[in-house]
């Protein structure tokens, strides 16, 4: 309880300090916290600004599409490779190698291939989210408690039964972590794509107000996006914790 008070006090002090420092300085560069709520209202109501709700919806739908693709392909590839260890041995190093490349490197190529529309954002979001998912599936399979497999074998379980009834449940925790990372990365991918060049979505909106030098609105949008991302990640974190507990 006392900790909570200290944390609130810290936040209050930080905001107050920021306010005091920013007030006398160039308002375009240094946005005082007090100007943000007004900006939020303007974003929601002013007709000369693109509609916030609509663009937020576009971004969320793009993220959903990118993530869904990443999950389907990631899980599919991961499970196929997991069932045939030879495939995993051959292809995991290649995938891990590709993962070592900072994903932003791929983005210009995707832009060229898919244009500035939603397709390139979905592609980029997919690319970022795919790796944690597929690598988590492979890691989960390799890290299955060997003893549990021995126990199942001693009870005469077939290879298929061991796969479904022992390995899969045992790796639920690792898988949930990978899925959570994948979601976070897909989100970042879509946002980055929108910021670097797009005609719709929250990233476009941020670009728009930024180019108009309306920094309070920019800060308001950034805070809003951050809040949404945080909420999604916390929810994903809860699910991950549950899965970890369940699979031991």
């Amino acid at each position: 309880m006392r900790l909570l008070l200290w944390r609130a006090a810290f936040l209050g002090a930080a905001l107050a300090a920021w306010e005091v420092i920013a007030r006398p300085l160039n308002p375009v560069l240094y946005v005082a916290p007090s100007s943000v709520p007004g900006a939020v209202l303007r974003l929601l109501s002013q007709p000369d600004l693109p509609p916030l709700a609509e663009h937020l919806g576009i971004t969320l739908r793009t993220i959903a599409a990118a993530y869904a693709l990443a999950v389907v392909v990631g899980l599919g590839l991961g499970f196929v490779m997991g069932f045939w260890p030879l495939l995993a041995q051959a292809y995991e190093p290649i995938i891990a190698g590709l993962y070592a490349v900072p994903s932003v490197v791929w983005y210009p190529s995707l832009m060229l291939l898919f244009g500035l529309g939603p397709a390139s954002k979905v592609a980029f979001g997919f690319l970022l989210g795919f790796f944690p998912v597929v690598l988590a599936v492979l890691a989960g399979m390799q890290q299955t408690d060997r003893h549990l497999v021995t126990v199942a074998r001693s009870m005469g379980a077939s290879r298929w039964a061991i796969y479904w009834k022992v390995m899969l449940p045992a790796m639920a925790g690792t898988l949930a972590s990978g899925l959570r990372s994948g979601l976070a990365l897909s989100t970042v991918g879509v946002l980055a794509g929108e910021l670097l060049g797009s005609r719709a979505g929250v990233g476009f909106l941020i670009n728009h107000v930024y180019n108009l030098l309306r920094t309070p609105e920019y800060v308001a949008l950034a805070v809003l996006v951050a809040a949404v991302v945080l909420v999604i990640d916390v929810a994903a974190g809860r699910i991950e914790a549950r899965a970890k507990q369940w699979s031991g």
Binding site: D145, H147, L148, V151, A152, S154, M155, G156, A170, G248
Partner: protein, 261 residues
């Protein structure tokens, strides 16, 4: 005269490791009679777990034969043999009940039948009321009892136990030993039990097979012949203990000096 349930003849096993071959077991031969409690006793690293693994079909011998009911073993056969290990190996995502159900489940036993049997077995091991607990909610002794119930659910006439009480504290260990003796009287199974504890061996077994240090060979086969309930302070028990200790001590020292203990 009881007949042989398990026949082991000239069994040898050598493991290939990066640091050279390990001769775990060499030319081991013994019989296990129906419904007897046989303990394999020996120092750490003497190959007793390897022998058990071969009886259970998890490890293939390099030489020799193992016959169960007259037939050679080829992989795990849950209809004939059930195993319990030192690590209970309960599936953390399944309740006690569903852990016990696992064996019948993979064999296609219908749900109602297997759940009823699982309930019965959990009650038999003294865990009535704990059916829906997860392994993390159970103590070490309870988990091992669930593991035993799970092995019993396979309905096999032979039970192999590899130091099942090794990870438990002293008191729990003794209680589990007493409990196993009681269960054994009712269950009428053939039990092969591995331990390095002489006390446990004397308290539970009909016969004790003493193994040498690596490479593991049979040093002696000792009949126990004491009445149940076992009184470990009786003179016969004390004499037996001394005799076994002498043998095991010799082998333990050899194992330690050769860097195995």
């Amino acid at each position: 005269m009881r007949r042989e349930h398990i026949v082991v003849r000239h069994v040898t096993k050598t493991y290939r490791t990066p640091s050279g071959p390990v001769h775990a077991v060499e030319d081991v031969s013994f019989d296990v009679y129906e419904q007897e409690f046989l303990t394999i006793l020996g120092p750490s690293g003497c190959g007793k777990s390897t022998v058990l693994g071969m009886l259970g079909g998890l490890v293939r011998p390099d030489a020799g034969t193992i016959l169960i009911d007259g037939a050679a073993t080829d992989g795990p056969d849950p209809r004939a043999v059930a195993m319990v290990f030192q690590d209970p190996g309960l599936f953390p995502w399944r309740t006690a009940l569903h852990n016990v159900c696992f064996g019948p489940e993979v064999r296609g036993v219908p749900r109602r039948v297997r759940e009823e049997e699982a309930r019965r077995l959990l009650e038999a091991v003294g865990l009535k009321g704990f059916e829906h607990k997860y392994p993390r909610e159970l103590s070490g002794g309870m988990r091992q009892r669930v593991a035993i119930a799970r092995a019993l659910a396979l309905g096999s006439p032979i039970l192999l136990m590899d130091e099942p009480f090794g990870a438990l504290d002293e008191q729990t260990r003794l209680l589990m030993g007493e409990w196993l003796s009681e269960i054994r009287a009712r269950a009428r199974k053939t039990i092969v039990f591995v331990t390095h504890s002489i006390q446990e061996a004397i308290a539970l077994s009909d016969r004790i097979v003493v193994m040498t240090a690596r490479p593991g060979r049979i040093k002696d086969v000792v009949p126990v012949g004491l009445p149940f309930p076992r009184d470990l302070s009786a003179s016969a028990a004390v004499a037996l203990r001394a005799r076994l200790w002498e043998q095991v001590r010799e082998e333990s020292l050899r194992a330690m000096t050769e860097g195995q203990g």
